[in-house]
């Protein structure tokens, strides 16, 4: 049975026992869009094996319905199986809008489903809205975040978008909310054999505070240099924050790993304070940090583009300033 007109779907990302933060962020945005679209409802689509426990959490975070398939064949994400199942669900229920996370898996899955349905997909949206014609306005970055463009999908349905983690805020839990759980099956997979099989998933949560949860982000770029890099860790420690980096610093191997990279192909952060050292300000990096509350940058080049995205700037070599800053913080704490 088709959903009532205007349904907004979000595709759930989970690890079996926990919902990804981005899924909750999408739920919050989906509620806003449903309200703008004339009081339509929000459905969360949950695919997995033994993940039913998450349905309640989806409802208290804003879902009116949870469309749920529990099947051992969906234990691991694969774009072929997930793509087939989701495409069937869309054809059956005909939602107006479908939102995906723009994680590695979500980007791939959204592109797969859009091609199967021959509908439009806007990638890595930084904002979503409904215009006065009732269309989804999808704001996407191009040229590494240098330009933002509005994208519409005027004719085909559903209108589909992917959204990077960290773009929208999470709604509060509301335990008084109630919703409906609709069970569906993955019968489209009966007799289907994947030409590609996921044989192993290896994931390691990085040690320490995740970058996107830190109130203070200490970021390092090319201008820091290998020898000075350990000072960033000390500074982050002193401020109970986390260390992030730019692409060149990651390529040099100074930073801990890909999870520390801030930018269009890395994390989006919006901490209380971002403090950057030796960061020149490529558009890719700026796209990932520009929404931080207070932005401080230290760079010896007064022309560095990063100063245009800073509240405070210090024109000095990061190598010189970092030890002095640590000393001053130490003195302050002793007082």
């Amino acid at each position: 049975m088709p959903e009532q007109p205007g349904a907004v779907w979000i595709i759930v990302e989970q690890n079996g026992s926990m919902l990804a933060e981005v899924t909750l962020e999408l739920l919050g945005k989906a509620r806003e869009l449903a309200a703008l679209g004339g009081g339509s409802h929000v459905s969360a689509v949950l695919l997995g094996n033994n993940t039913g426990i998450l349905a309640g959490e989806l409802i208290v975070h804003g879902a009116d319905k949870v469309i749920f398939i529990d099947d051992p064949r969906l234990e691991l994400y694969q774009n072929d199986t997930y793509g087939l199942v989701l495409t069937e669900l869309v054809k059956k229920h005909r939602p107006e809008i479908v939102l995906f996370s723009a994680s590695y898996c979500g980007s791939e899955l959204s592109a797969t489903v859009a091609a199967k349905l021959e509908t439009g997909l806007a990638a890595h949206c930084v904002d979503l809205n409904i215009n006065d014609r009732g269309e989804l306005v999808q704001v996407v970055p191009a040229f590494g975040g240098m330009v933002l463009g509005d994208i519409f999908c005027p004719i085909e349905r559903p209108q589909m978008a992917s959204v990077k983690p960290g773009m929208f805020s999470k709604p509060d839990r509301d335990t008084t909310r109630t919703g409906e759980v609709i069970k569906e099956t993955a019968s489209i997979l009966d007799g289907y054999e994947s030409p590609l099989k996921a044989v192993r998933v290896v994931q390691k949560q990085p040690a320490g505070l995740p970058l996107e949860k830190a109130a203070t982000v200490v970021a390092g770029g090319w201008g820091v240099g290998q020898d000075t890099w350990p000072y960033l860790n000390q500074l982050a420690g002193a401020l109970s924050g986390a260390v992030g980096c730019t692409r060149p610093a990651l390529d040099e191997g100074w930073a801990e790993g890909e999870h520390a990279m801030i930018g269009t192909s890395g994390k989006t952060v919006r901490p209380q304070v971002y403090i950057g050292f030796g960061v020149s300000g490529s558009t890719h990096h700026i796209a990932g940090m520009k929404d931080s509350k207070v932005i401080i940058n230290i760079n010896k080049d007064p022309e560095a583009p990063i100063f245009q995205v800073s509240d405070y700037g210090a024109v000095v070599d990061a190598k010189e300033l970092l030890p002095l800053l640590l000393k001053k913080i130490g003195e302050h704490k002793e007082k």
Partner: protein, 264 residues
């Protein structure tokens, strides 16, 4: 082993800060910004050449782009690819990812039997990540994106893809369409000999008629998504420069951190 690599000419990402929007026409101004091969597409060419060196066969390059993309394709030929196909026509302009994938898939089908289609995982300009999956879908090939390792043993292909904080290992069989990530390899440089040899390699240009595509299915007309306004993000910040000797600057930063509530 017949491998096709889809490559895209893009404005050099090192110059993106020079891109502006014409306030009157609302069109992008990118004068004087050089065009290069989309950086990660070079990793795709390298991966294809390595497989060819191991298993034999042929590497063909395919691009949907304006006629001046000839130079971009020649650079791929100079790296060692065997043939190039430029899919070019005014009717292809303004294509979104699905309309682009349709043209690429039509070209790939016309080229003939293919075992593997490689692309970069994303383009530097649009950055959607859609093309590897959408070309794969339209070709009817299984597909993966963000591939960081790739090896062939007998008839089994082993693949590693990136996920948040980790990776997934896959095993499968050809044919496949794969989007490669920059971690997969270091692309080789072109040599003078390569550049000279590239001049004599087969180069074919096809338009919509050659590909059996109706103009209504290509370019802006064939795109389910349509562009609206462009904006330059307004950051609205003007750095207050901290004066004084470095030690004074450090002191001022401590005060800012205290005011922001991140230093007790």
């Amino acid at each position: 082993m017949n491998i096709a690599v889809c490559i895209k000419p893009v404005p050099d990402p090192g110059h993106y800060h020079r891109i502006t929007i014409d306030p009157a026409t609302k069109l992008l101004e990118r004068k004087g910004i050089p065009t290069i091969i989309n950086p990660v597409d070079k990793n795709a060419v390298e991966a294809a050449l390595q497989l060819k060196e191991q298993l034999g066969g042929k590497v063909v390059l395919v691009s949907m782009a304006p006629p001046d993309a000839r130079e971009t394709l020649k650079e791929g030929l100079a790296m060692g690819a065997d043939e190039a196909y430029l899919l070019s026509d005014r009717a292809f302009a303004g294509a979104d990812t699905l309309a682009t994938a349709r043209v690429l898939a039509a070209g790939l089908k016309k080229i003939g039997e293919l075992d593997l289609i490689l692309t970069g995982s994303e383009s530097a300009d649009g950055g959607t990540n859609h093309i590897p999956s959408q070309v794969g879908e339209l070709m009817g090939f299984a597909h993966l994106n963000h591939v960081t390792e790739l090896s062939m043993e007998a008839s089994t292909i082993k693949i590693k893809t990136k996920i948040e904080n980790g990776y997934v290992e896959y095993q499968g069989r050809l044919p496949l369409a794969l989007g490669v990530a920059r971690e997969i390899n270091t692309p080789r440089y072109t040599t003078l000999m390569g550049v000279v040899m590239a001049q004599n390699k087969p180069f074919t240009t096809w338009g919509p008629g050659d590909l059996g595509l109706a103009p209504a299915n290509t370019g802006l007309a064939g795109s389910p998504t349509q562009p609206g306004d462009l904006h330059m993000p307004q950051h609205g910040r003007r750095a207050e420069l901290l004066e004084g000797a470095p030690e004074d600057m450090a002191g001022k930063i401590v005060a800012i951190l205290r005011n922001a509530g991140v230093l007790a």
